[in-house]
């Protein structure tokens, strides 16, 4: 069936091209709903008078037919700007909006969205729990920037409290975080990687800006999925982050396939860096207990002699932590503004 351009029967405004022949269009100007075939029209229901628009001074953008209010920029990735936004309606939804800054990287954003959709569908053991610690796709499509250029954008759910990347934590703890805190972060990361690997994927970019921590709940999320691959397909990494070259095993940059081991090496390098150490050699500052420092040094190696499996490595971390600090206990970790 051919899709035709419709005009709103209520006010005459042009309607966007429908995404499906049996879809419903909502007129941006008068709120009327029109079926995509043009056959049926429902006028906008009367609205209560007491509902002022949310933050009318904030900019609005539309992705896939839904309008969002931009609340502010959360950060900048290698190729995208990331915003906190909310659906511009009374029944709202807090979201993270990722918009490409470098237009040529639109394909990476598409890739990321598709991989995350697949991971959310995964039935691998632990999927119910761990899929909540991955970005959750909501919508994607082009947005128009202020100059009218369409830019690829993806919308993900906002996860309350997961708002401090390793990079920000390291800024705050300039001489390195408490090793006991680094231990729980590493363990959470390894559990998550364990699930991802079981689902058949390697993340391929376990880097400080991609690790988000929930300080109060000791939670960790993994973002930045543009480089992930299904490792059984033996695909190469599509791209790497120039600013974080040191965190990649050299073989990956030469075009070798990412696999669970490369993720584990990168995870150790991130933890080493967070502790104030050197990600490449795994050399640690003096405050890190020897058992943990040793393990990190071994795991930062390009080809670690032990532990090709995330769960096995987690056991080793447990062991090293016990040797260094005794039986596990809850360590209060905080960032500015947190109680």
């Amino acid at each position: 069936m051919e899709l035709q351009l419709l005009k709103c029967p209520g006010c005459g405004a042009k309607l966007p091209i429908p995404s499906a022949p049996n879809g419903i269009l909502v007129c941006e100007y008068c709120g009327a709903m029109v079926s995509a075939s043009g056959a049926a029209v429902w006028p906008m229901p009367a609205r209560p008078a007491d509902d002022p628009p949310f933050a009318p001074d904030r900019p609005r953008v539309t992705v896939a037919g839904t309008r969002y209010v931009l609340l502010g920029r959360l950060g900048r990735g290698d190729s995208s700007d990331v915003f906190l936004a909310r659906r511009d309606a009374r029944i709202t939804e807090l979201v993270v909006l990722k918009v490409v800054r470098a237009l040529s990287d639109a394909d990476l954003l598409t890739r990321e969205y598709e991989i995350l959709e697949a991971l959310q569908r995964s039935e691998a053991q632990g999927a119910e729990h761990f899929s909540r610690l991955l970005p959750r796709p909501v919508a994607r499509g082009p947005v128009k920037d202020p100059e009218g250029t369409p830019r690829a954008a993806a919308v993900y759910r906002w996860h309350s409290g997961f708002q401090h990347a390793f990079t920000e934590i390291r800024e705050e703890y300039s001489s390195g975080v408490d090793p006991r805190a680094a231990v729980w972060m590493w363990k959470r990361l390894l559990e998550l990687l364990g699930f991802v690997h079981r689902a058949g994927y390697a993340h391929g970019a376990v880097l400080p800006p991609h690790l988000l921590v929930h300080p109060r709940d000791h939670g960790l999320m993994l973002v930045g999925w543009a480089s992930a691959v299904r490792y059984t397909t033996r695909q190469k990494l599509p791209a790497f982050s120039a600013a974080h070259r040191d965190f990649y095993p050299q073989a990956l940059l030469r075009g070798e396939t990412p696999d669970p081991t490369t993720d584990l090496v990168m995870s150790a390098r991130c933890i080493a860096w967070l502790l104030g150490g050197d990600p490449v050699s795994g050399a640690m500052p003096g405050g890190v207990p020897p058992a943990l420092a040793d393990l990190l040094r071994r795991q930062c190696d390009e080809k670690p002699a032990e532990a090709a499996d995330a769960w096995r490595l987690k056991e080793l971390v447990d062991q090293a932590a016990r040797e260094s600090f005794g039986p596990p206990k809850f360590i209060h970790f905080t960032m500015p503004g947190w109680r």
Binding site: M44, L84, T92, H129, S160, G255
Partner: protein, 325 residues
């Protein structure tokens, strides 16, 4: 409706005696109770009275298909008094609760059953246990939730809204997707209204939220995977995914408490729940279920993320990525 006082003790005693009865003894109905037939009902009213000067209308629309029948059962046996108590504790003086039961209009004999708004434990319980737990359901992963929303939007009248512009609450439990349209034919047959054409479900939600704060509660994470995304398109962060259906009551009462400002944030709610003899594990599950919605209210008890005031990028920025191969 809505006369009669509420007594937690009486209610608690009433539910306690049934804890050991089989489900058929509690829910005796084998077809839609004649008083719960929606056909021809003009209004279900939640009204202020001398005894309840500040009524607040609350609709519980319960999915009664298949395994979802556990929730009405759970409410009738144990949890409904706790819900009322939680509301009273949260400072909601005069809650009036209406129960609806929802099935599938294509397959079930009683796809929509509607009680009355009640304030007293005996009457509230009566409507709940008059519900016919048919246990059927549709074949296609959908149920007729949209009919319940349609009924609430067009056939209920709340004094809290009419007199005080204060919205009531509409809770729906379920584990399937809604149909995309309210069928003109089904509405005629079940409710008796004449529509000119089928009504998109989005439109119904829009009408419903004029007078209600709607929420959709999914009983557990496994079942969320079937339907969460579709519901989130309609209800955004008002889709609450629980970890266990036994938490329905605390979650619903927590939502009312957060919206009404009885709890300043999730920390305050957690402190309140701690006094209620709740295990640490269940407390955590309730707080986790409520967190995304609390975040949209700015009541998640977490500092606001560091935000830079900025608009979308322009021009073609330089990529920090280097391609391989």
């Amino acid at each position: 409706m809505g006369y009669g006082g509420y007594s937690y003790e009486a209610h608690e005693t009433m539910t306690r005696v049934r804890a050991v009865l089989p489900r058929q003894e509690v829910f005796k109905q084998r077809r839609c109770h004649p008083l719960m037939e929606p056909h021809g009902v003009k209004w279900r009213e939640s009204r202020d009275s001398d005894a309840h000067p500040k009524s607040l209308g609350i609709v519980f629309s319960l999915d009664v298909t298949g395994s979802m029948g556990d929730i009405p059962d759970l409410l009738a046996r144990q949890r409904l008094p706790a819900f009322m108590k939680a509301l009273l504790d949260a400072g909601i003086a005069d809650p009036q609760v209406l129960f609806m039961a929802v099935g599938d209009a294509n397959d079930d004999r009683a796809p929509l059953q509607v009680g009355q708004f009640e304030s007293s434990e005996r009457q509230m319980d009566q409507w709940l246990t008059w519900s016919f737990l048919e246990g059927g359901g549709g074949p296609a992963g959908m149920e007729s939730y949209e009919l319940a929303m349609f009924f609430a939007a067009r056939h209920t009248d709340l004094d809290c809204w009419r007199k005080r512009q204060h919205r009531g609450y509409f809770f729906m439990t379920g584990d399937e997707r809604p149909y995309g349209y309210v069928s003109r034919r089904q509405v005629k047959q079940l409710i008796g209204d004449s529509l000119e054409q089928d009504l998109p479900v989005k439109h119904v939600v829009d009408e419903l939220q004029r007078t209600y704060e709607p929420f959709f509660l999914i009983p557990d994470i496994a079942r969320a995977r079937n339907c969460e995304r579709d519901w989130r398109e309609l209800l955004g962060d008002r889709v609450i995914c629980m970890e266990d259906p036994t938490d329905t009551v605390e979650v619903a009462a927590g939502l009312v408490g957060l919206c009404e400002g009885a709890f300043s944030d999730l920390d305050a709610l957690a402190r309140h729940l701690k006094t209620q003899d709740m295990t640490r594990q269940r407390l955590g599950a309730v707080i986790r279920a409520l967190t995304p919605f609390a975040a949209t209210l700015g009541r998640d008890g977490i500092p606001r993320p560091r935000l830079e005031d900025d608009y979308l990028p322009t021009n073609d920025g330089e990529s920090g990525h280097r391609r391989i191969g």
